[in-house]
């Protein structure tokens, strides 16, 4: 099967650089899949779970905020953070989720726009982490 070159790059270094069969990512308009020889494409990436398949094995990553570019049979993700599901500390993510929920509730009560946006982003990240960790366990 034809493969596509996947690269996931974060400010703290490249996370993945590999030939893979299929990539699924949380795009602006919802999840999308990319196979080999996809046409040139550029999309923003939401916080969520990125997955790819290689040698019949699924891999899951939590990604947050960035964009992706497909060209010349390469797909490059530039994201603020990316973590493999199996490397995620579930306990810490749970705590982060609870903290974010509490903050969000507080921000809603006081109707603070900025804090609300921050809490929402933190909550999304925590949930994406938990989901990626769960998917990786299966």
């Amino acid at each position: 099967m034809a493969q596509i070159h996947l690269e996931v790059v974060t400010p703290t270094g490249p996370v993945v650089s590999d030939e893979v069969d299929i990539v699924t990512a949380p795009g602006h308009g919802g999840e999308f899949g990319v196979l080999a020889n996809h046409s040139p494409f550029l999309s923003t990436i939401k916080t969520g779970t990125l997955s790819y398949k290689k040698d019949k094995k699924d891999h899951y990553l939590m990604v947050s905020g960035g964009f992706t570019e497909v060209s010349n049979n390469r797909i490059t993700f530039l994201v603020e953070s990316a973590e493999f599901g199996q490397d995620i500390d579930v306990e810490r993510a749970m705590l982060a989720k609870e903290r974010a929920e509490k903050r969000l509730a507080e921000a809603l009560q006081k109707s603070e726009k900025l804090n609300r946006a921050r809490a929402e982003a933190a909550l999304q990240r925590a949930m994406a982490r938990l989901r990626a960790a769960e998917l990786a366990r299966q």
Partner: protein, 291 residues
């Protein structure tokens, strides 16, 4: 002639100082390695980001995006990135004086200046001017992308509210272990990036499918681009700080060595003088006994 004990104490003191400066030198060189590694890891992200930006912004209508809006400049915001700690030679004072010159120049042109201080040294210096709008202190040691995001969000909000019309970043660029120079970077309004290679550009702009529209993508990308710039400046300052400290501590250590050498000579002279005068006493006493 100073007393023997005084000189000896002083030598001990200088020796201890040189031990400290030597240790600081070693710590700085270890930290420099870490900072350089951090820079190295950031490079691919930075390069790819710049490439994507230039692809996208080519042929974009800049005026529609709030972060690219060019206005009459009434207020200039300077983001001054320094280190949190001192003892690194003239590194921070170079940045501060560059920023101060810019400040005076803008004010001479009748523009208002507001300051954002990243790093404690700059914040301490500029506090008395009363122009500091926000300070971010004690973050230069272990900062991450989210620290840069917080700073750039603050700057962007102020800019979009119309409270600043232009933003410049003053930071210390890391050229090499021996050379670090203050550098000024234009941050806002974001200028459309000139496409680097002509052939690269033409290949891209036509054939791409964008999701969402390029304009909307830019709205997401521009704040990220600001984060990247701020983060980059912080990385440069981080590495420069340690390099400057290494040099400063190296100089201090060799100055200590010189001082120890001089003091040892002084000590030997004083000791010799004491021996001579004791001998004189003994000889004088013996002569007197002979009678």
């Amino acid at each position: 002639m100073p007393g023997l004990k005084d000189v000896k104490d002083k030598i001990e003191g200088v020796k201890k100082t040189s031990q400290i400066t030597q240790a600081m030198n070693m710590v700085a060189s270890a930290k420099l390695r870490g900072a350089q590694e951090k820079m190295e890891k950031f490079r691919p992200y930075n390069q790819k980001f710049a490439a994507a930006m230039s692809n996208l912004s080519a042929g974009m209508d800049a005026a529609t995006l709030p972060l690219m809006e060019v206005r009459d400049v009434k207020t200039v915001e300077l983001v001054i990135v320094t280190s949190d700690r001192g003892l690194c030679g003239s590194f921070n004072s170079n940045i501060i004086s560059t920023a101060e010159k810019m400040m005076h120049r803008y004010e001479a042109e009748g523009k208002k200046v507001s300051l954002i201080c990243v790093g404690k040294k700059g914040a301490q210096y500029f506090r008395k001017t009363g122009k500091v709008r926000a300070g971010f202190e004690d973050i230069m040691g272990t900062f991450q992308m989210f620290n840069a995001r917080e700073i750039s969000m603050n700057i962007a909000e102020n800019f979009m509210a119309g409270d600043s019309d232009e933003v410049q970043v003053v930071y210390g660029k890391f050229h090499s272990v021996a050379v670090q120079k203050p550098e000024v970077l234009h941050l806002l309004p974001i200028r459309p990036v000139e496409a680097a290679e002509e052939d690269e550009k033409t290949e891209i702009s036509g054939a791409y499918t964008f999701e969402p529209e390029p304009g909307e993508i830019m709205e997401v990308l521009l704040p990220l681009y600001m984060n990247v710039q701020i983060y980059h400046a912080m990385l440069e300052v981080g590495a420069s700080e340690h390099a400057a400290r290494m040099t400063a501590m190296d100089n201090a250590t060799s100055a200590c060595k010189d001082m120890i050498h001089e003091l040892t000579q002084l000590y030997n002279k004083a000791r010799q003088a004491a021996i001579t005068s004791e001998l004189m006493d003994i000889v004088g006493g013996a002569e007197a006994l002979k009678g």
